[in-house]
């Protein structure tokens, strides 16, 4: 480690010596660490290449660093040893961790300001930008990049067989249960299943029904927030799902994307999962399928409100030359142009992060050719967000999700009542929030 600064000095001297003759060609290299696998990673490489070709001052070097948690751990380890990348992709539940590390992170708004690159923060979809903005100043802290929301997928062929209208996805939770019952009666082993239970059945369920997930506007207004998803609204919903599990219309198969394979194999007629699963389903499903909005409870006032996002954003880490940050600002600005953001949305199933990218995609006729591709964004724009439906900003959120997984699994296995499980989740989660609060001060 100790030889690194020396090496840098030598290389800097070498650059200076050659500077006079080669300055015009020396592009500043900018490391960009991400967690976009396979096809998504290729798209990231394409974007970086296009940007590198569009100018000669900066060279973006995208590096795949594994899954979201691995990429974040790698970025943190690199920061601790002084080799951090300039841009790091961090998943939405890591947002509070990043915001707390004030010395390690430069807010995106400041990066643009210092570089003298204009940034129109109003251009972003409000519910996406809100997730990544400072609650006090309203300015962007990280750059929205790949965001998704939960949507409902249903098997149209199975609907036909069960005597249901294949063009009518279940709208309310009561519909989901009724349709799942008919699917069961028609011989399907699993009516409804869902992945990412904390994100879909509690975080998004709360926002979709205009209810807070935690106090202090879901943590946006302070580290001293407390969880409050053990209220009658959420308990009733988990009770509803437990009843479905008992009667066999809801099948739990795993914490993450497991229901997707259960859906495209034809076992499950209805699932809720990330809008980002659309590409996988399109690839493997050998039947006609449709996409619908997240179901809601018709008796809840104000529902449906708006969805909140999952996915990741791009963070700028500190400790680099000003020249690097100028390049970072230009690259981030390039990412949010309607053409680039629109193509990213169309290729991947992630949301268009700006209004302009959404409108451009509409104009290009993409949604006419790909019905259902606009459901995710429609859910985000459904209503202007309330202060507590902008998203979540809670520390130790990855662990809180694990806690919710553990507790809900006991509900599906009928070892706990919904009230007991949610109370336990809130109590255990609050302990983690207090731990996070302490390390922040």
């Amino acid at each position: 480690m100790s030889c690194k600064p020396l090496f840098r000095t030598i290389s800097a001297a070498a650059v200076l010596a050659f500077g006079a003759s080669t300055a015009a060609h020396a592009a500043t290299e900018i490391q960009f660490w991400h967690a976009m696998e396979a096809a998504l990673g290729e798209r990231v490489n394409d974007i970086a290449n296009d940007f590198n070709k569009s100018q000669s001052d900066y060279k973006i070097v995208p590096v795949f660093k594994g899954t979201y948690d691995q990429a974040l751990a790698a970025g943190i380890a690199a920061y601790r040893s002084g080799n951090a990348p300039a841009i790091l992709q961090v998943y939405e539940v890591g947002t509070a961790t990043m915001m707390q590390a004030k010395k390690a992170v430069i807010p995106v708004y400041d990066v643009f300001k210092q570089a003298g690159v204009p940034l129109d923060e109003k251009a972003f979809v409000p519910t996406i930008a809100g997730y990544y903005s400072d609650a006090k100043t309203g300015h962007l802290i990280s750059m929205p990049f790949n965001s998704s929301t939960p949507v409902l997928y249903y098997n149209k062929d199975a609907f036909k067989k069960a005597g249901l209208d294949p063009n009518q996805p279940p709208k309310t939770w009561a519909d989901v249960e009724a349709d799942a019952k008919k699917l069961k009666a028609a011989g399907y082993s699993c009516g409804y299943s869902s992945g990412w239970q904390s994100w879909i059945q509690l975080e998004n369920y709360s926002a979709w029904h205009a209810a807070p997930f935690a106090t202090k506007n879901n943590g946006f207004d302070g580290l001293d927030a407390k969880l409050e998803f053990n209220k009658p609204l959420q308990v009733a919903h988990i009770q509803f799902l437990q009843n479905m599990a008992k009667e066999g219309t809801f099948t739990y198969v795993g914490r993450k994307d497991e229901p997707v394979s259960k859906f495209y194999s034809g076992d499950c007629g209805i699932i809720t999962n990330s809008s980002g699963s659309r590409a996988t389903i399109a690839k493997f499903a050998k039947f006609d399928y449709g996409v619908g909005m997240m179901p809601y409870d018709a008796n809840v006032k104000g529902a449906p409100q708006n969805a909140i996002i999952g996915g990741a954003s791009l963070w700028v880490l500190s400790g680099k030359d000003p020249a690097v940050y100028k390049g970072v600002a230009k690259f981030l600005a390039y990412l949010s142009t309607p053409e680039v953001a629109g193509k990213w949305h169309q290729d991947t199933g992630y949301l268009p992060v700006t209004q302009a990218a959404y409108e451009l995609t509409q104009k290009q006729g993409f949604y006419d050719k790909n019905p259902g591709a606009d459901i995710a964004i429609k859910q985000m724009l459904n209503k202007p967000p309330l202060p507590y439906t902008k998203g979540l900003r809670l520390g130790n959120m990855p662990q809180i999700r694990t806690i919710v997984d553990e507790e809900l699994e006991q509900v599906w296995a009928e070892k706990k009542t919904p009230q007991q499980a949610l109370d336990a989740s809130v109590q255990r989660g609050d302990e983690l929030l207090r731990r996070f609060e302490k390390t922040g001060n």
Binding site: V253, N396, E406
Partner: protein, 294 residues
């Protein structure tokens, strides 16, 4: 007078063990010391602020009933992995020892799984047992058994034990097989002449003579079960359902590397370190007495 070779200088022996000592210091003592230090700190993920909190991380751990229940999960998991791993591989080795035709083919096939990375082993098994698309799940469903390790804790435990044992059996097999081959044929033949059947010969002669090997494997397998199995658990169950496969080592991995709670994870590693040191001492003090070295 005692006759032994002596080196004149006192530097040489130290020089000769120096590389080993350096490796031990670099890869064992330093990280262990680091863990001890982290365990007393309250730190944000980036390490930009750090505060000495003494034993607060330990107090918080032992006040958590779920941490304590993770101990029993670990004990169940480790004994299942160690006992079934040793028994199965001994059985296989004893069978392979009696095979005369195609012995090489058996050996090779039995050693293969050892070359598979733990995470891949877990993924292979969880594919077979996948609640939505697994082959075994499908076969079991035909028999009327519903397999869903995402919900059923016992099934989840069975799956992670199966994947961990499957991986370790090859290693154990290799040692048992070599041990069996090293037993003098004359002893076995003498017993056979005295009228002992294969089973009697195995328990009366082979097993006692294998005791050094068995003891060595017991230590190695316990360490394996305690420390090396988190990739298997991560890929197969993620510690679930509920907490039914959350062993101590997996908890450290999940909270330190995924949850970025370095203080708590450091404290947990220290606790685990103490447990394994204690177990090893017990083994050498009490179990080794019964081992017969020839």
């Amino acid at each position: 007078m005692e006759k032994r070779s002596r080196f004149d200088t006192s530097v040489l022996p130290y020089l000769l063990v120096a590389p080993q000592l350096a490796i031990t210091a670099l890869f064992f003592l330093w990280p262990a010391g680091e863990a001890l230090w982290q365990a007393t700190q309250s730190q944000d993920a980036f390490g930009t602020s750090s505060e000495f909190v003494g034993l607060a991380n330990f107090r918080q751990l032992f006040a958590d009933p779920l941490y304590l229940s993770s101990f029993s999960t670990t004990m169940i998991f480790c004994s299942l992995v160690t006992v079934s791993g040793l028994v199965i591989s001994l059985l296989l080795a004893a069978c392979a020892d009696r095979v005369t035709r195609g012995a090489k083919a058996y050996q090779t096939l039995l050693i293969w799984p050892y070359a598979v990375a733990p995470a891949i082993a877990a993924v292979l098994w969880s594919f077979l047992f996948n609640p939505s698309i697994g082959l075994v799940t499908y076969a079991l469903a035909k028999q009327g058994i519903i397999w869903n390790h995402a919900l059923n804790g016992t099934q989840a435990m069975f799956l992670v034990v199966l994947a961990s044992v499957w991986k370790q059996v090859s290693y154990n097999f290799l040692f048992f097989y070599a041990g069996l081959q090293a037993i003098p044929q004359s002893l076995i033949e003498a017993a056979a002449i005295d009228g002992a059947g294969p089973v009697r010969r195995f328990f009366g002669i082979a097993l006692p003579l294998l005791s050094p090997t068995s003891f060595f494997l017991l230590v190695v397998n316990l360490v394996y079960a305690f420390f090396d199995t988190f990739p298997v658990i991560d890929a197969a169950t993620g510690g679930g359902p509920a907490q039914s496969t959350k062993t101590l080592i997996y908890k450290i991995f999940a909270e330190g590397f995924q949850g970025l709670d370095i203080g708590s994870s450091g404290a947990q590693s220290v606790v685990l370190m103490v447990i394994v040191v204690a177990l090893t001492v017990i083994q050498f003090r009490f179990v080794e007495r019964r081992v017969q070295y020839s």
